[in-house]
């Protein structure tokens, strides 16, 4: 049961939520709220932006300044908010389809600009809300309603994508390690620049049902067994890493942040 301070960040008015019993999204929401509390963020100075999908409903459930926008576009909305009011803390919550399919362009450009937004990607490898269609992170061979013979296209590695595109902080964990999720989210928010935290979660309703992970617990044990800390992964061979989920902070670099650069290089120059 979350503590009273955590519950004070939840909009009781918006309950009941739409998530299935046993969904991992609540664990991530809890981690986000705990990180915001630990960082002493004020609700009225904190923005949560989201797109469309199960994960994106989270914006409505958190009692802050929240924007439930259009599918895949949340980072573009968040960019406008952050550029106009850089003093706000901006967190963007996304699903895997939201972030890497329809929103893929906005995602790589937010990384490239390195704008001070924390993107939390809830990757459950499927389009859950629409009934279980394949996403760009559905593993090859996995069943989805639109891949009834198994997915044939390779999946994205969200963390490598973010690293290559220029984000200043990139980390991955799973819902089986909520404390680590909280730490990474907190580190991401503290980071001056674009931060990406991929949290592997599950959709036992749509994905698990047809891919041998029918119960929430099956997914929990799967994540626990498959997770490998980054330091250990660096000592393992590619064969040993097959089917494993490497968790840890992949990128933590200090590079110029967009809104600061705009202030320094554009506004100061324009005003002479």
């Amino acid at each position: 049961m979350p503590g009273a301070e955590v519950l004070s960040w939840v909009r009781a008015r918006f309950m009941p939520h739409i998530w299935c019993p046993g969904c991992g999204h609540g664990i991530i929401m809890h981690a986000i709220i705990r990180a915001l509390i630990a960082l002493k963020k004020e609700k009225s100075q904190t923005v949560l932006a989201s797109g469309i999908g199960c994960s994106s409903r989270m914006a409505g459930y958190i009692d802050a300044c929240t924007l439930h926008s259009t599918h895949g576009r949340s980072l573009a909305f968040a960019t406008g908010i952050k550029l106009h009011k850089p003093e706000l803390t901006v967190v963007d919550v996304m699903g895997d389809g939201d972030c890497t399919a329809i929103g893929g362009n906005h995602f790589i450009h937010a990384c490239r600009r390195n704008i001070d937004i924390t993107a939390i990607v809830m990757n459950n490898n499927i389009y859950g809300m629409t009934g279980g269609q394949a996403s760009p992170t559905t593993p090859m061979g996995a069943w989805a309603t639109t891949t009834p013979y198994g997915a044939v296209d390779p999946a994205f590695d969200i963390c490598k994508l973010a690293e290559g595109a220029g984000a200043s902080y990139v980390a991955r964990t799973t819902i089986a390690n909520p404390r680590q999720a909280e730490t990474f989210i907190s580190n991401g928010i503290k980071k001056k620049g674009f931060a990406v935290i991929e949290v592997l979660t599950h959709c036992h309703t749509q994905f698990g049902r047809k891919n041998d992970r029918r119960l929430p617990f099956d997914n929990y044990t799967f994540f626990k067994d498959a997770s490998v800390p980054l330091a250990k992964a660096q000592t393992m061979t590619p064969e040993e890493l097959q089917g494993k989920i490497v968790c840890g902070e992949f990128v933590n670099r200090d590079i110029p942040e967009y809104t600061e650069q705009y202030e320094k290089l554009v506004i100061e120059k324009a005003r002479g």
Binding site: D63, A64, A76, T79, L83, K85, N105
Partner: protein, 377 residues
């Protein structure tokens, strides 16, 4: 001494936006609207505003909506294919009641069409482009001065009604150069969105002012917490499936503009008294049409000129009244016949309504419209 310049329509439009207090521009380069972005890129940082070239047209309007939610007066400008791409997020701004101004400098379509040539093919898209019902406020400038003045007006209307306002310019108006007189800031009336007057804990984000139908709007960061969503929602901004709440929201979106219709509608007329042939034309075509009507008068034809400045709401009551005695109404357009449908609807068969289409990328010569006037007179 008045501040006078010799500018393109696009430049004037950008400066009008700045005069209106625009402090954010997000967009993507596209012909023939790009000069608007270029002026904003140069001018906004001088005034502590922000310009951002986004990764695509969709992101352009998204950033503008985001900035407006955070309190900015925000503008995006586009053309043809870009206007198509913006339609989904335009819908979000309608339903979530976010004031923004969107400029479409029309070019020939469909698709890539005629990027550097004039057209008026987006008239119905401006009205119905985004899915779902909504009230549209859309201006069509026909001179460089009007680009400037209507940009100011568009921002005022966006702020007043908490919704997107469109400016449907076209390639001719956007790129031609004319004298323009800058307004004296002291004499320009600017409107700002009404802010909530209650304390944050008493704030009901979408509870409308009973007189205007427009809810006060807080900005993110102002101390108020609220939820913005593209879902149909109740006064709390909470998604609703409750039929009375759904209907209330939908009807309010329409009526907040509808009830103020008379204060929004604008048009220009010449020689309408006793006119037997009326030419209804807008935007760049309005210029050719006015000349044609004047030439017809010189020839003794009782021609009249009616130019809608707001395409939406269309000046239907006004046209219907003023053109009552007209035998024929001619609607010259740079499309295959869009606004002519609206004129037919308004006249209800009382006058013969004839479209005059030009879709070869050129602007009407006054003589082409004059020929038509003489033909029907």
């Amino acid at each position: 001494m008045a501040d006078v310049a010799f500018w393109q329509g696009n430049t004037a439009l950008a400066h009008g936006a700045l005069m209106a207090g625009c402090n954010f521009f997000g967009g993507y380069p596209i012909t023939p609207s790009t000069e608007i972005a270029e002026v904003m890129a140069e001018e906004l940082p001088k005034r502590n505003g922000h310009f951002i070239q986004m990764e695509d047209e969709i992101a352009g309007i998204a950033s503008v909506i985001g900035a407006s939610i955070a309190g900015a007066k925000a503008l995006t400008a586009t053309s043809g294919p870009g206007f198509s791409l913006k339609q989904e997020n335009l819908g979000l701004a309608y339903i979530a009641e976010i004031p923004i101004v969107v400029v479409d400098v029309m070019r020939g379509g469909p698709s890539t069409g005629l990027p550097t040539k004039a057209a008026q093919q987006d008239v119905m898209q401006a009205r119905w482009g985004t899915h779902g019902d909504h009230a549209t406020i859309c201006y069509a400038p026909s001179s460089v001065q009007e680009c400037y003045d209507l940009a100011i007006k568009a921002f005022n209307m966006a702020e007043r009604f908490r919704q997107p306002v469109l400016i449907l310019s076209d390639e001719v108006v956007g790129h031609m150069r004319e004298k323009i007189v800058m307004r004296d800031p002291a004499s320009v009336r600017l409107m700002d969105r009404v802010k909530p007057s209650v304390a944050p804990e008493k704030f009901t984000p979408y509870e409308p002012n009973p007189l205007t139908g427009v809810p006060p709007m807080a900005s993110f960061g102002d101390g108020y917490r609220w939820h913005v969503t593209g879902l149909t929602s109740n006064d709390w901004g909470f998604p609703t499936g409750n039929p009375p709440e759904i209907e209330k929201k939908m009807l309010r979106l329409m009526s907040k503009v509808g009830r103020a219709r008379d204060e929004i509608v604008e048009y220009e007329t010449e020689y309408m008294d006793g006119a037997s042939v009326v030419v209804v034309a807008y935007g760049s075509v309005g210029r050719s049409a006015m000349r044609a009507v004047r030439d017809a008068r010189k020839k003794g034809i009782a021609a009249g000129f009616f130019r809608p400045i707001t395409l939406w709401p269309f000046p239907d009551v006004e046209l219907s009244k003023m053109a009552l005695g007209a035998k024929t109404i001619i609607v010259p357009e740079l499309n295959c016949g869009q606004m002519v449908l609206e004129v037919e609807r308004v006249m209800k068969g009382r006058s013969k309504v004839q479209g005059l289409s030009l879709v070869n990328g050129e602007l009407f010569k006054p003589s082409e419209i004059l020929n038509k006037i003489e033909e029907v007179a």
